[in-house]
Structures are given as C-alpha cells and as structure tokens.
C-alpha cells in the first residue's frame, strides 16, 4: 500500500497532539510512515505505532536544534527519497509551514497550507481550507509532484490504530544551506499548566473589555473551572495585559476548539480569522451591537465582570 510521510512534532520525544491527528488523516490516503527528527525517537515510537505508524524513520543530529528549519528540510527530503510517498503531511505550525514549503519546492511539488480536512480523491488527496477569515471553504489539490500539505490542529480526531511502528534510522546528509541561520540562544516558554491554546477543546478569551492585566484573573478563573486554555485579542496583547503567545487571530494563533468563549471582544475580522471555525461560539459583551454576536450560538449582553464570575461559580458548583 502507498506510504504517506508524517512529520512528527514533538518535544524530546513527547509527541504533540496535532501529529496524532495527522496520523488519522494519513490513514485515509495510505500507510503512515512517521519521520522523527531530534532526540527521543525511542519514546515517541510506541505512541506513533499506537496511532497507526507502520514505520518510524528517525534521525538525530545537533544541526536540528542549532540551525533554523533547513536541516529538517534536508531530512524530510532524504525520507521522501527513501520512501517515495504519495503525500507528505506536516502540522501547520509556523515552522511546519516553512519546512513544508521548502520541501515542496525541492520535490517539484505544489504545497497546500492550513488544511482543515483531508480525503482521498481520484486525483490525489483533496484538502479542505478555510479562506478569507473563514468566510469561504475551498477544496484544493496538489496537481504536480508529491502533495505536501500542512494541516491545522484539531482538524481530525485522534484514533488508536495499532501498527508495527518499527524504528529505522534515516540517513541525512546536510546541504550547504543547512547551517545558514544559527540559533544562538533559546528560551523555552514557561508552562502555565493550562492546555496548549491551539490544541485545547475549550478556549476562554479576553479582550479590551477586560481592561487591565490584573483583571485577566477573571478570565483565568473561568478557564481553570472549564479546564480550558486562555486566549486574548490583539488589543489586550498590545496593551501588555497578556502575552503575545496567547493572541488569537490572523497574526496570533488560529484555534478551532469545541467551545470558544469571547469576553469583552468586539469581533474584528482579524480576530474572527483565528476563531471562526470553533464549533460552538459564546460571547459576553456589554454592547448588543458588537459584531461578535453575529457569530455566536449563545451570547450574553452584559458586563463581563458580573457575568463571568457568576458563570465560573456555576461551573464549579455543577462540576461538584
């Protein structure tokens, strides 16, 4: 059966959820072969196998951590030459998209970014994308070469589908471009203990209406009661109330949770671009005319400082 390369996004062998979703999608078009770069392949392999990887191609070298993007492209190119896949799937992170693009060019292939679904088609895999701030849904194909497709988090369920998952070494020769951009220092992001924003099932966001950094505790309390991630609008981020890494929208993270709760957010097009594909949308805003209400399944017109704490108490009470 045809093989599909799946690029593994991981932290020292701890596989991130979007990769497991890619394995689900890969099985729709062939047999997944995972490509694990950097340390930790032995600990990643059982998880990858559990979710359908028939093989795990692994390579580790200091270049992957010490230089930006290109060493990983060299490795994927080597994997593509070894496997002759029918498609290459990469998570749609900022880095994932850059890796996918450069790989596609080298393979003489088209690249599709930010797919939200994937199916087998007569002329190769068909990707669903959402365009123009999710106002449109498109179906696209790569019409030349080996389709290279990046897929957004939360685009497919994580499903168990046990396979062999044998670890095999991948030979990589780094090209002259690999060492072009040196990573001279790296400061890991501090963990908040909350779910990862792009992967969370529930996201609770605050905007300019939160009116101050300290007031974000109101948003955090609701998020913690629901086991949710915290998001913020750009206005809240620009004001310095919450870190940029939590920004939802066109230039922040694009999220697609089961439930999105927007508090004190007006719903500007650039914010909508990052959350409009959420399954259920809820908003609390004191302005009944706020555009966010055009999107909601349920909206409360009111002061978030009244509504949100009451909701938080209610959630806690119901959860016991």
């Amino acid at each position: 059966m045809a093989e599909v390369l799946v690029y593994v996004d991981h932290v020292d062998g701890a596989v991130r959820k979007p990769t497991l979703e890619l394995l689900t999608l890969a099985r729709r078009i062939g047999e997944p072969v995972a490509v694990h770069l950097g340390p930790g392949a032995e600990s990643a392999a059982p998880v990858l196998a559990e979710h359908g990887a028939v093989r795990v191609l692994a390579a580790d070298a200091p270049e992957f951590a010490d230089y930006l993007v290109v060493p990983k492209v060299d490795a994927l190119q080597a994997a593509a030459a070894a496997v002759e896949p029918v498609a290459v799937l990469v998570p749609s992170s900022a880095e994932g998209k850059e890796i996918a693009a450069r790989l596609a060019l080298r393979l003489g292939s088209g690249v599709i970014t930010d797919a939200i679904d994937l199916e087998a088609g007569d002329q190769g895999p068909v990707a669903t994308q959402s365009a123009f701030a999710a106002a449109f849904t498109t179906r696209s194909r790569v019409s030349r070469g080996i389709p290279v497709i990046t897929v957004k988090p939360n685009s497919a369920p994580v499903e168990a589908a046990p396979a062999a998952g044998t670890v095999e070494p991948l030979e990589v020769t780094f090209g002259p471009l690999a060492t072009g951009t040196k990573v001279v220092a790296r400061t890991p992001r501090e963990s908040t203990g909350r779910p990862e924003l792009t992967e969370a099932a529930i996201v609770v966001s605050g905007g300019r209406g939160v009116n101050g950094a300290e007031n974000f505790s109101v948003i955090e309390a609701l998020a913690d009661a629901l086991g949710a991630a915290v998001g913020a609008s750009r206005a809240a981020v620009d004001a310095g109330w919450y870190p940029h890494s939590n920004q939802v929208g066109q230039t922040g993270k694009s999220v697609s949770p089961q439930l999105y709760i927007a508090n004190g957010i007006s719903g500007a097009i650039q914010h909508r671009a990052g959350m409009q594909t959420s399954k259920t949308i809820v908003a609390v805003n004191k302005d009944a005319e706020a555009p966010i209400f055009d999107l909601v399944d349920y909206g409360v017109v009111g002061d978030l400082f009244q509504v949100v704490p009451q909701l938080t108490e209610e959630v806690k009470a119901r959860k016991g």
Binding site: K97, R102, T138, S140, Q250, V300, G302
Partner: protein, 261 residues
C-alpha cells in the same frame, strides 16, 4: 558600500471588505478595494530602520500584481523607500505560492540585493510560506518571523518567538528576513513623503524581462488546483440574552445543555 535592501510587498483586497472568489476560483480583485497588505507595512518599517542604522543604504520595494498594485508601491515609497519595481503580466493571473516565489526571486536577483525583507504572511492567501520559498530559491539564509531585527557588520540578528521557545537567530548577509506585527508600529507617510513618492522611480517589468516562461506561472502553471469554493453558510442566529442579574447562570445552563459541563 551601500546596503541594498529589497522589500517584497503585496497588494491585497481589504480584509474588512466583502472578499470573494471569482468564477475561476481565483481571488476576485474587482469586488473589494485593494491596499498594501498591512503586514507588509511592518516589513517596510523595519527596512527603513535598518537603512537608517547603516552608513549607506538603498531600499527597493517590489510587488508582483496587477496594474492597481502600484498603489501598494506608492504607499511604501511615501513611507520612505527609495525606488520600486512592479512586475505585471497578464499571464500571472492565478499564480500559486510556488510561482509567486519564482517571480519574486527573479525580480530580486534583477534588482541586486544584500538583504530581502518581507512580511510574515499576506492578509489574503495567508500562507506565510513565500519568505521561506524565497530563501530556498535564492540560496540564502532565512531569518524569519522576527519580532526584533538588526543588521550590523554584515550580519542579521533577530528574535523569533515560536510556540515552544523564543530564539535568538544570527545569519550572514546576504539573507532574507521576515518580520511579524510585533516588530514595531509602522510609520504613517508624511505629507512630504507622499509628495516625494510621486517623483520616485517605478521600474515596470514583465515575465519576458525576467526570463520566465509564462507556462511556469498563472492558473495553468500552478502546482495546486482549487476545485471548489463555497461561502460558509451564515451561522443560524444564536440565542442572545440580556443580563438581568442571571446572565452567568443562563450561560451555564446553555453550556450544560451542550454537555460542556
């Protein structure tokens, strides 16, 4: 020696307008007014700051797009760029990211460069991959998605804030930089800048000038194909309640009915 900076800027349909696809499933550029992609204003701004910090520098702004795309160039020139290149050709209609990067790379080589600066993503296609593709094609380091950038002694340094970590990057010139909207507010063109822009040179090029086979670009030359585009159905009107003191409880009731709690 003069530092030659090329900034790639895109002319895009205004995101606050009612954007659509045309019948051939390309972007309908007639439906909505176009403008310089707001994210490319940040690229122009950083290029201007890099040029200010250099002894001697020259900034060329480059766009690939239809006749109207000159507006984007004028805006960048009025912010302070020195000259412009406009690549326009009927055969470009419907080009994908691979083709776009081909045309941009040829035009950048034509201009001559030490540093290429781009935005983090366009506000229409939003692919965010053209910068990496350009670096690959030009065979130069990519120093991308920077929230801070500086150039000195033939080196680019910058900060990239990623999902898991914040990284300090370094590369030798020539290099390609892309900047995020965290890199610093873009300046408004001054009246003097707007007047001066009218006299700045705009070089017009077509595919033949760049030695590009029209078969390698456009809808027919694209390596991707869009089979259909459908407007997302408007959301069915949700329930909206006014808080009369019980808003939080009512919301909890809704969340419970949807099995979220």
């Amino acid at each position: 020696m003069s530092l030659r900076i090329v900034v790639a800027v895109k002319y895009v349909p205004d995101a606050t307008g009612d954007r659509h696809f045309a019948e051939d499933l390309t972007t309908d550029r007639d439906a909505v007014d176009g403008l310089l992609s707001e994210l490319d204003e940040y690229a122009v701004e950083q290029a201007l700051q890099i040029a200010d910090a250099a002894d001697d520098a020259e900034i060329t702004v480059l766009t690939v797009g239809p006749e109207d795309a000159k507006d984007a160039l004028r805006k960048a020139l009025s912010m302070g760029a020195d000259k412009a290149i406009h690549v326009e050709d009927d055969a470009l209609h419907g080009t994908d990211v691979i083709g776009t990067s081909l045309v941009l790379a040829k035009a950048i080589e034509h201009a001559g460069y030490d540093l290429v600066v781009t935005g983090m993503a366009s506000t229409d296609g939003t692919a965010g991959v053209v910068p990496a593709l350009l670096a690959e094609r030009l065979g130069i380091p990519q120093v991308t998605l920077l929230s801070e950038v500086s150039v000195a002694d033939g080196k680019v340094t910058g900060r990239r804030d990623g999902d898991a970590a914040s990284e300090q990057l370094e590369a030798s010139l020539p290099a390609l930089v892309s900047v995020t909207d965290q890199s610093g507010e873009a300046r408004y063109p001054s009246f003097k800048g707007i007047m001066a822009a009218k006299k700045k040179p705009v070089e017009a090029l077509d595919l033949a000038d760049l030695g590009i086979d029209p078969a390698d670009v456009g809808l027919a030359g694209a390596w991707t194909a869009v089979d259909d585009a459908t407007q997302r159905p408007a959301r069915t009107a949700g329930t909206i309640v006014k808080d009369e003191g019980e808003g939080g409880k009512q919301l909890a009731e809704f969340l419970a009915s949807q099995k979220f709690i």
